[in-house]
């Protein structure tokens, strides 16, 4: 199955999927919090564009609704909420120094290779080419996990979590033409509620330890250990 044998829409889907992967790497390399949120919004927008393209090319009108939902939630509402939150806890000029920037990026590339190796044996798919996009969406999921592991800043970890959801959604849309609408609505609201809850948690955590650094969450009791 070579790329040239596919119609133009699916080639465009591939290009967009590759760009989603690229935004995952950008998130991994980005040190500025606000720029991270913007990158996350772009990732949501790209996933929405892929969904719309799939709806158009496979003539599945219900996917347009998913695309609109993704665009509204992942590209606009949640980034806006995160943005407002970051401004409220006065982290909008926050830059994080990465411990091992080059090693993290190379590790990310390793994860991409790993996920490709994992999906290689998959045979039964509606479209042979979609297997390659499954590799991409699995990489996006793993890169989101890597982001959560590599960062200390809680807002960054939430972005990692949300980008995992982006990866899962990408896989669902491209392999199975989306999930049933009820499931999709449920997941969308879960994500939204999660975003709201995270916001409440941020404020609580900040109030109790006066920082949003996850490395400082290593004590179980609020009292200082007795020396």
């Amino acid at each position: 199955m070579t790329l040239l044998a596919l119609p133009l829409q699916e080639q465009a889907v591939f290009v967009l999927a590759a760009m989603v992967l690229f935004t995952s790497f950008l998130l991994l390399a980005q040190t500025r919090l606000v720029t991270s949120i913007h990158t996350f919004a772009w990732q949501g927008g790209l996933v929405a564009a892929i969904t719309a393209l799939m709806a158009w090319s496979s003539d599945a009108p219900h996917l347009y609704l998913s695309a609109a939902l993704t665009l509204g939630l992942k590209a606009l509402l949640i980034p806006w909420m995160l943005h407002r939150l970051v401004r409220r806890v006065e982290l909008d000029r926050h830059t994080e120094s990465l411990a091992w920037p080059a090693a993290t990026l190379l590790g990310g590339a390793g994860l991409v290779l790993f996920s490709y190796w994992v999906v290689l044996p998959i045979e039964h798919l509606e479209l042979a080419a979609t297997r390659n996009i499954v590799a991409i969406s699995l990489s996006v999921v793993l890169l989101g996990m890597l982001l959560m592991v590599a960062r200390r800043q809680i807002v960054q970890e939430v972005i990692g979590f949300m980008s995992i959801e982006n990866g899962l959604f990408l896989g669902a849309v491209t392999t199975a033409h989306g999930m049933p609408l009820v499931v999709e609505l449920g997941v969308a609201f879960d994500v939204l509620v999660a975003a709201i809850l995270f916001g409440v948690f941020f404020l609580q955590i900040r109030e109790s330890i006066e920082s949003l650094d996850a490395d400082r969450l290593d004590r179980l009791s609020e009292r200082e250990p007795e020396a």
Partner: protein
């Protein structure tokens, strides 16, 4: 066009159009700053003036210092002449290999760095060490990026790659997108343009290329600056002809050649304008941020290679 003429054209094109492209970029930047700017032909006048001046050589200089400008200029021009400008029918096609091209550029850079250290001034050594830092990180990235192209075209020969691109059906290739972005980042770093180095300053904290050629004067300086301009043109031609091979001439008919020449001039003007605009918008970054920038380029190239393997070949 017969082959001898074409060889001559290749060398003359790169030697003569290089100051024009540099002048064009300067002009775009001047217009964006609401200045009139220097005339487009100023680059030629400066080279001419420098050629006529006495070349001073410091007492401490060894022969390396004297031969370096010639080696740098010759290797850069030779590297440039292997690039297909008008079409894949290239007399130097047998040596127009991408690895040879990178090697020739590395030879020039090696002598440039040697010349910087030869006189023994502080600035020269500083510039050389910075240049080596940048190029040691940029070289793997550029090789990865071009390998992405060569995997698609099944050849490392630039002429056959161009030939393949001209004759294959148009397709949206994610790997090309990444390779293009990687080559853009690397090209900016290698030619010493703004986020990495500023060609218009002699500020000791920031200069890289200028620090190495600080001691040069007269015809030596002219050759060094000319070589830098040719390198800029080389990267511009590499980018436009590999990624946007529209209008290139496959047969070598007179009309085809004329069309190809117009097309390449237009594309280079667009690249020059884009370069001028980005240089006006961006600020130069700290030297210690450059490795991260080049890591990004390397990552893009790697992603290009991966997306070629994962998305385009599909291994069935």
């Amino acid at each position: 066009m017969n082959t001898g003429l074409l060889v001559l054209f290749q060398f003359l094109f790169f030697a003569l159009a290089a100051p024009l492209l540099a002048g064009w970029v300067k002009r775009v930047k001047a217009r964006l700053q609401n200045r009139r700017g220097t005339p487009l032909l100023q680059g030629y006048r400066e080279l001419w003036k420098l050629m006529g001046k006495q070349a001073l050589v410091p007492d401490t200089a060894s022969p390396v210092y004297r031969i370096a400008p010639y080696v740098v200029f010759a290797s850069t021009l030779l590297a440039a002449a292997t690039l297909p400008v008008l079409g894949p029918r290239l007399p130097l096609a047998s040596m127009a290999d991408i690895i040879v091209l990178v090697g020739l550029l590395a030879l020039g850079r090696f002598f440039l760095a040697l010349a910087g250290m030869d006189v023994g001034t502080a600035f020269g050594g500083l510039g050389s060490s910075r240049e080596m830092l940048i190029s040691s990180l940029a070289e793997p990235a550029i090789l990865m990026a071009v390998f992405t192209l060569t995997l698609t075209a099944h050849s490392t020969n630039l002429a056959s790659v161009t030939d393949f691109l001209l004759h294959s059906a148009p397709a949206l290739r994610p790997s090309f997108l990444f390779a293009l972005m990687a080559l853009l980042l690397v090209g900016i770093a290698e030619t010493g343009r703004i986020p990495v180095d500023n060609p218009a300053t002699h500020l000791e904290l920031t200069m890289v290329h200028e620090a190495m050629i600080l001691e040069y004067s007269g015809r030596h300086l002219a050759l060094m600056e000319w070589a830098a301009q040719i390198k800029l043109l080389l990267y511009a031609v590499l980018l436009v002809n590999l990624f946007f091979p529209w209008g290139m001439d496959a047969q070598g008919t007179p009309t085809g050649t004329l069309v190809a020449l117009t097309a390449v001039t237009f594309k280079l003007a667009v690249v020059g304008t884009a370069l001028g605009v980005t240089e006006s918008v961006l600020a130069k970054m700290r030297l210690f941020k450059v490795p991260l920038y080049l890591d990004m380029a390397f990552l893009l190239a790697l992603l290009g290679l991966l997306s070629h393997v994962i998305l385009e070949v599909g291994s069935r």
